[in-house]
Amino acid sequence: MNKEEIYATWAPETSCWSRWVKPVLFSYLDLAAPVTPAHQPPGASASLPASIPATMPERVPALPITIPFTDTTQEQRPGPPVPETVLETSWAPAIESRCALVLDLPCAEGVILGLELAAQDYRPVPLYNAVPLPSGELELDSMTGRPVAAVHVLPILHALKKGATILGLIDLPLDAPPAFLLDAHRRGDGRKMLPDEFDNRSVCFTTDFPSANFLSAQRIGCVVLVQRSWGQPQLDLAHVLRRWQQAGIAIQLKRLDAPGPPVPCEIGRPSWFGAMFQRALSMVGLHRGEAGGFGAWVTASSAGG
């Protein structure tokens, strides 16, 4: 599949959710080198492909089960092992309940779980906004061995590329509810950035998602936030969820480290919630973090006019 075909698979014209698919990573798909079984590293069985066939419905044809989701053809960090809990989807509401999902999971886990959920007729909607390292650059500093980029997006890139093959085989209903995919590490891991690191951290904004009105028009009355463990949503995402909650959409939380179904969740008022308050603060210079776009203040707008 070429870049356009991969993008079209994740953002098909027939889906009303495709408009929200973030194109950044797809535009860099040329970076995702072809992966052949010969490149599969030892111990790659923890990644998605080997596990997918077991959970796919019978109507899905044979899947490319040996393609790893991390590319080790270059000197790159392998993706972290995927916990078994990520592959467990029995908690997911039946699509008849018209719940949307927001998967805020690290690295490529959102793609992996998104594909599992696609088998249950959820439409995965990638919202990854980080820019990968420029072409040809190594992921690890050759001298120190430390990661060069703040956010490790190549595993996501590869997962999107390989996942397109799988997703293309699934015949999703036109009204499939969305599963929005986010990288929980998008703002960095909270570690201090070094001066020469490639800073590809990102945040999500309320405008990256459909409005509550649009969700309601699609008969979506509930949103389930899926996280590995944390009880509270990340600050940028809290703005999104809070707006939906204010509009009457029920918010639930599913922690993958805890068994059981999603539980109701009350999203508290995030810092600096509300655009007009932000306007007033911007006037006195409180409008963004020194790094220019994240930290406590995440909803400011672009530099460019």
């Binding site: 990102s202 306007r279 460019g304």
Partner: protein, 434 residues
Amino acid sequence: MSLVETARPPSGPVKRTLCELRSEGSDGATASGLHAGLALDPTAFAALRRRAVLEGCKWDPQVGDVDILAPFPLVMRRSVWHVLAAQAEQLAAEAIAAEAEVSCRPELLHQLELPRALRIALGGETPLTPPAGRVFRFDFHFTTEGWRISEANSDVPGGFSEASYFTALMAEQFPGLRPAGDPGGSWADALARTAGPGGVVALLSAPGLVEDHQVIAFLAARLRERDCLAYLAKPQQIAWRDGLAHLEGSGYRGRVAAVVRFYQAEWLVRLKGSCDWRRFIRGGQTPVANPGLAAISESKRFPLLWEQLSTPLPAWRALLPETRDPRHAPWEHEDGWLLKTAMCNTGETVTIRELLGTRDWRRTRRAARWFPGGWVAQRRFQSVPVLTPVGPRHVCIGVYTVNGEAAGIYARLAVKPLIDCAAPDAALLLEDDE
């Protein structure tokens, strides 16, 4: 390869004839020399949109529920473009002259509501860091009184991908119509000339904002087409040694030939640590674009200085609506005024009373009362909407100048007479006068 030259005859996806829509246009369409073209059919437009997002670095094609790329073009008579281009060139020349004068009269800078450290840097005596070029975008609107500008984007104008790549893609679909220019290509040409063959250019933006990344990624691609080495970075990764800029990045460590600062001047002062941000303005020898002095005309309070300047500003005076300090304008009682903050960069603080709820209006009013020095009151103009395939739309025509010469147009549409970050982008194409 020039994007403008790639236009080729259409494959015929246009739904209705151009004449049909033009005949339905409002009266303003005739007077403004501007009308909407016809929408492409959904399949053709979806393919075009895919190319724009995958190849043209248009990474924010959706803002909330709004599809940001309009499936129809705006069409302007070539003679109108020539007028706007000449006006934009004059505005640019006047702004640069005024900035030079203000930088020599630092006592004026405090009226612009710039951070103190930036004012000190702008008004210093160290030689100015040379410019790598200068790009402006002047936002024109057709009003009941003719063409007017709402503001100048002097410091970090964006929109190059939309104005160049997307517009060229749309032009491929409409025979006989051509883009007004290729501002991204013109800007890259200017930067490449400064950097020289094989020159290294560092393009700086704020981390975390994809809409900024897409601008410098697009420019970087254009620079690479011109045999430059282009690297994306953040301002903290520039180290100044003996006045020369060095990039301390993961992909390149060493001296650079030019710096593109897609990072607002007033944000620079918050950079901490080893970043000597003042060199972006004064004391550097490596060319920087845009130059730091751009912050002067970027401030929406720039018009408040005009009476104190010896620089004549006839184009600005003719085209920009009357602008006052909020303390000296009846904005609280008269609907003919709007408010905006001094460093309103993307239109997010432009406040028109009738477009706000009571609660929001009270908040803005309180803010403008408490901190009037951070705001301006500007007399409103009455924008004349253009009839489009999706209904009447107010149109903002952003005219670029690159090193003093008009370079193209970035057009946006809005239902309300207010252009903000959620205003859809439209390709503007030129037609020959009849």
